[in-house]
Assembly symmetry: C2
């Protein structure tokens, strides 16, 4: 099996955890060939930590590096679209952190760029690759009709600059709302809700600190989301069906599933590095899938296909429209391809 | 201590459980002197079950019975206001099942009738009298600022005629929504939410089968309610504060409280009768408090005062307005007193 050669774009905490996850695999399978950040100094520190040969002070240098097969983009949301297009136009495959873009219009452009360049593109929804998810699907199917899903996601990070800043794609809906929305897509599929009702309290910076979203589906089914960036909650997803219920604690990086007749538990992959975020070792599942897809010549990952990313982004668009979180990118005309 | 003499209005399941709860006390303290129902036959069967001396085939006979001190009203919501007024105008004290009335306009009238007749009046919010509630208050106060509360209440009773019928005050908001709303009042007090956002799916009968309510309070605090009458949920209230969280399973009749450093558990009172509803033995707490209030000459119960009932009913009014559940009683002018 040939080696997959990774470039890492941005030297932030999540990139560091992702690099550590790549290192769960032998360098004969996955190798990190370069790291780039806006600051060369940050890139060099990152390169030193992970013993990466090349550190760049601009993202353009990754695009120009012929040894790179696939680029992992871990930076701030507002930079995603431009970086993805840059890399794909240089014929690199791309894995980009969630949420993919600032809005679905941007995302459709990005997907068009992937098609034009015939490269692999995937939103880095690591949750979907956790082993619990196949048992979750199996247990879902045993519950009869799913009627009610509740999920709360609360973190105490309202003072983090990036989270507060509209220009960077901050706020609860964008930063954490994408996770519950991904689960609505996973549980109810691509069916559109009959009605979406969102309400929020905004910070004076124009982004939301707390938001609720009700997705009303046909036949008396609903998916209710509670988001907060000013308070930690139990971050648990609860599914209620006609024949019983499922509980998924720590739903965005789940290693436990409480089903009617069984509690499933999973071990995380081991890492030689200390992680910045809880359970980031689980990024390794995603790394494996990306490699498998690219080696097979796939352009989309069946586990996290483009249509699901678009579905999620369209819900987030509508939530932001209702609560009044507006990005400059929402006013931009579609870019020429 | 003198005996408190009860009349029971309506012979339904909740009245039966309430009568059983009265019987937790010696007849020298609480005695049931009569039972009335629209059907004399039902009243007689009830009287026989509980060995009650007098069975009436009309509610008016309770009002005319001079041996009655206090009337428990357990019937259908749409009948509450008229029955309460009838009993209070006959100088009886009144305890009436929740929700008190069809809307807050009716409720204000009923309270005026209580004042005019100088009698005791209380909404039968049994939950407030459970012993867990004082520990819940204590633990709430230790959580720092409460930021997020989530509560779901789901039952599988959409096929019950009363639940489906608009004319009887059916639907999720009225039948079960009053409980979470009572907790919003208990936790955040009489402060009005800055914003109330409700959304729903209605049955073809014009009442709601599932509803979500977001109560947005100042300073980034919120109380989120999920209601369903087509699916059982875990019926748990979860409070997230800056210093930790509280979990109240079976929140509408709680006998357990999971606090940061301690799990509280409580025994229910014993009953010689089999109950129709789970944990109805807990109605005995309420019976005791009613007796104490009346013996002290109180007209309101400090644990469930009129202002709290009005607060709750006004929230339910607004929720119904937003989701489009309209009662004929909403169009009626204030009745003359």
């Amino acid at each position: 099996m040939p080696v997959l050669r990774w470039g890492i774009a941005s030297a932030g905490l999540i990139s560091s955890d992702f690099a550590a996850a790549i290192r769960q695999y032998p360098s004969s399978e996955n190798e990190i060939v370069c790291i780039a950040a806006r600051s060369l100094k940050s890139a060099e520190a990152f390169a030193q930590k992970f013993n990466i040969a090349k550190a760049y002070g601009s993202y353009k240098e990754i695009a120009e590096d012929e040894s790179v097969d696939v680029v992992y983009i871990g930076g701030i949301i507002s930079t995603h679209a431009e970086l993805m297009e840059m890399m794909m136009n240089a014929k690199k495959h791309v894995v980009c952190e969630k949420p993919f873009c600032m809005n679905s219009k941007q995302l459709r452009n990005v997907i068009a760029v992937a098609k034009k360049n015939d490269v692999f593109l995937m939103e880095a929804f690591w949750t979907r690759f956790f082993p619990v998810m196949s048992d979750f699907r199996k247990e879902l199917n045993a519950l009869g009709e799913i009627k009610v899903v509740t999920v709360n996601f609360g973190i105490d990070r309202v003072d983090v600059e990036r989270m507060r800043t509209r220009e960077l794609g901050g706020g609860a809906t964008m930063d954490i709302g994408c996770y519950p929305t991904m689960f609505a897509n996973f549980i109810f599929g691509s069916e559109k809700p009959e009605k979406i009702v969102a309400s929020s309290q905004l910070l004076d910076t124009g982004v939301d600190q707390m938001t609720t979203v009700a997705l009303h589906y046909s036949n008396g089914r609903m998916f209710n989301i509670t988001l907060s960036i000013n308070c930690k909650t139990d971050n648990t997803l609860r599914v209620f069906g006609q024949k019983g219920s499922l509980v998924l604690p720590g739903f965005f990086h789940p290693i436990e599933l409480i089903a009617p007749e069984k509690t499933y538990k999973y071990d995380l992959p081991k890492s030689q590095y200390e992680m910045s975020f809880e359970r980031s070792e689980g990024l390794g599942y995603e790394v494996k899938c990306v490699r498998d897809c690219i080696l097979k010549g796939q352009r989309e990952c069946p586990t996290m296909p483009w249509k699901d990313s678009i579905w999620i982004m369209e819900i987030l668009d509508e939530v932001r429209r209702q609560i009044g979180v507006h990005f400059d990118a929402d006013d931009t005309e579609s870019s020429a391809l």
